[in-house]
Symmetry: C2
Subunit: 372 residues, 2 copies
């Protein structure tokens, strides 16, 4: 008889929708190749509505969004939902496509109830260290009981790129990671590849921010990218996997590209209007780099032996892989004892619904294999 | 009580020795973090000698090489050894660090007996398609029974770089891989990065081959690199994972860099002596590339929709990531529907005992998790 694995999806934005489409693909593939596994979507939940199949039957993925609009009910508190899921007649996987730290704070309890978690929720793994510690003390693939749930979060850094799995493998096989360096934000990548392209050119900083916003590369309020916190969260996660118990994304130096004078702006619109007044600051930085034959990029780095984590602008030679990055690509370099002077490099799109969902679906496949 | 997992290692050359050292690291880490798992090395075997602990106790890894020299006995046929291993009082993992296709042809039987296989043995997965098919029909992570062994072979392409796991994830999550392209040989990478470095220069071809041989970058007989077969084997493996049932590494166009006139050389030494007579052929290729502002590199590529696999020299713009490669690094680019115009790129050392063993140890960790 087929073994049921129950999938509960929370968050149905861009990533959530792309995940559902990949889940449908996976169900069909498993039906052909591994008929012993029966994946069932039993919960679809967004902020105001949810559909929960308390008879543990599969919700049709192709129509679930429409059904949710039409027949969704106001969702109960998460605690209540997880209590219901724990009573499923088989193993449950929670797919958290939100960025809700409140939900993340429930992961330890969720894992202890035998429910696995796969998620691109950065906040869950970059908030206070105590939450990180508590999550991995509760996970079957941490130091929790073997009957607890598994947790995977590949998409929290570099979306679907195999960044965390590669770092974990370096650490678990005994390599010494000495330095991690890269461009970890698609927004910052696009912005600086336009502001100072290899070979010269590029517009004024405020104009490039405006262009990036118009093309949909920034958050609705670009200050949420320019403050560097998104990159700091990713560095926090990488540093912790590399063995540094970083307390939070604000416990190391993070350079904000929001001019001091504009920190008090009451809205993103006001900020965007005034940003051009500070173009000369960024222009000086660009000229300094040009004079040295370099380009400026917004990067994060972790020096493991000295335990130094930092986020901000750095200058790179034209021949450096970080300088040659294109579009909104991420690049992550792992310098290790085994890899010597040439690092292990992973590069490609690090944002977007489809590639982020791919990391989540890849994690789900790992959990399914472990639960099989 | 701790669960024993029994490790049988065949092949104790550069990769085998590096693997043993990583296995010792892994045992110590597991003893601290997952005391429920007890890894035991029970067999160490090379061509002329073996040590087999038929009482299923752990062989001391630090002294196993010396013990093997001193107390090793002539090994019985593999069939007999696998019959003994199948009687272990727990799950067994065979670590095949050889490049023996005869041993590989026994994998299906080994897997059917519940023994898992982790290996960097390229020949096992690039020989006739029937063997590939038979291996995956026998594996628990193929279409074999859940009680059969698991098989992983990350190090057969790009050594420890996460090449196969990334391609599998793209395929399993429903992305459409359109093209795979890269430099898959550390030898060819080093040779062409010296023969025609970015920015000009470089020596004559025969002199660069001689230098590469002296520095230990080539096989003892450099013809084993220059014939392109090593790259063709890797392309065969990638193509099969991408869904193309390539029959063998000789069933698609492979450009050999051995001049026709030298195919009949009776020894590597004779070949090396005469190679310089053909420098003008390679010089013409280099000049043609230079005139177009390009460099020539030895690459493999797979066009998935048209099912075309090929291996040979290609010209690349200076701005192409393949042109910018350094030392003996590999680079592998996956062009897919989700990643769009900028591919997912993985780059770094693709040869060497430590990084190859890392891929094997990483695979062993996956098997341990699945057997747990």
């Amino acid at each position: 008889m087929a073994k049921q694995i129950y999938i509960a999806v929370v968050g149905l934005g861009g990533v959530g929708k792309a995940f559902l489409s990949q889940l449908e693909f996976l169900r069909q593939r498993l039906a052909q190749q591994s008929p012993a596994i029966d994946l069932r979507l039993i919960l679809a939940r967004r902020s105001q509505k949810q559909l929960f199949n308390s008879n543990w039957e599969h919700l049709d993925i192709n129509t679930v969004s429409a059904q949710l609009d039409k027949n969704g009910t106001p969702p109960p508190p998460f605690n209540e939902t997880f209590g219901q899921l724990a009573r499923a007649p088989g193993r449950v996987v929670l797919v958290d496509n939100t960025s809700d730290v409140g939900l993340a704070s429930l992961y330890p309890m969720v894992l202890q109830r035998g429910i696995s978690v796969v998620t691109p929720n950065k906040k869950a793994f970059s908030d206070r260290y105590e939450l990180w510690d508590s999550i991995f003390k509760s996970a079957a693939n941490g130091s929790g009981s073997a009957s607890n749930g598994y947790v995977f979060h590949e998409s929290t850094v570099g979306a679907g790129l195999p960044v965390l799995s590669s770092l974990k493998e370096l650490v678990e096989t005994g390599d010494e990671v000495t330095k991690i360096e890269g461009v970890f934000s698609g927004t910052m990548s696009f912005l600086f590849n336009s502001f100072q392209p290899l070979g010269g050119g590029g517009g004024k900083f405020a104009a490039e921010v405006k262009k990036a916003k118009e093309l949909g590369y920034t958050e609705p309020d670009p200050r949420d990218d320019l403050n560097g916190l998104d990159v700091a969260r990713k560095l926090t996660i990488l540093a912790r996997i590399a063995g540094l118990p970083v307390e939070s994304p604000t416990s190391f130096p993070v350079q904000s590209l929001i001019p001091k004078e504009l920190e008090s702006c009451s809205s993103g619109d006001e900020f965007m209007e005034k940003l051009a007044q500070f173009d000369s600051q960024m222009e000086t930085i660009k000229e300094d780099a040009t004079n040295e034959g370099k380009v400026v990029r917004f990067v994060g780095s972790i020096d493991v032996p000295s335990k130094q984590v930092k986020v901000g602008l750095e200058k790179f030679d034209a021949s450096h892989p970080i300088a040659a990055l294109k579009g909104s690509d991420n690049i992550i370099s792992f310098y290790t004892k085994r890899y010597g002077s040439n690092p292990l490099i992973i590069q490609g799109a690090g944002a977007g619904g489809d590639v982020t969902a791919m990391g989540v679906t890849g994690d789900l496949i790992k959990v399914i294999r472990l639960l099989q």
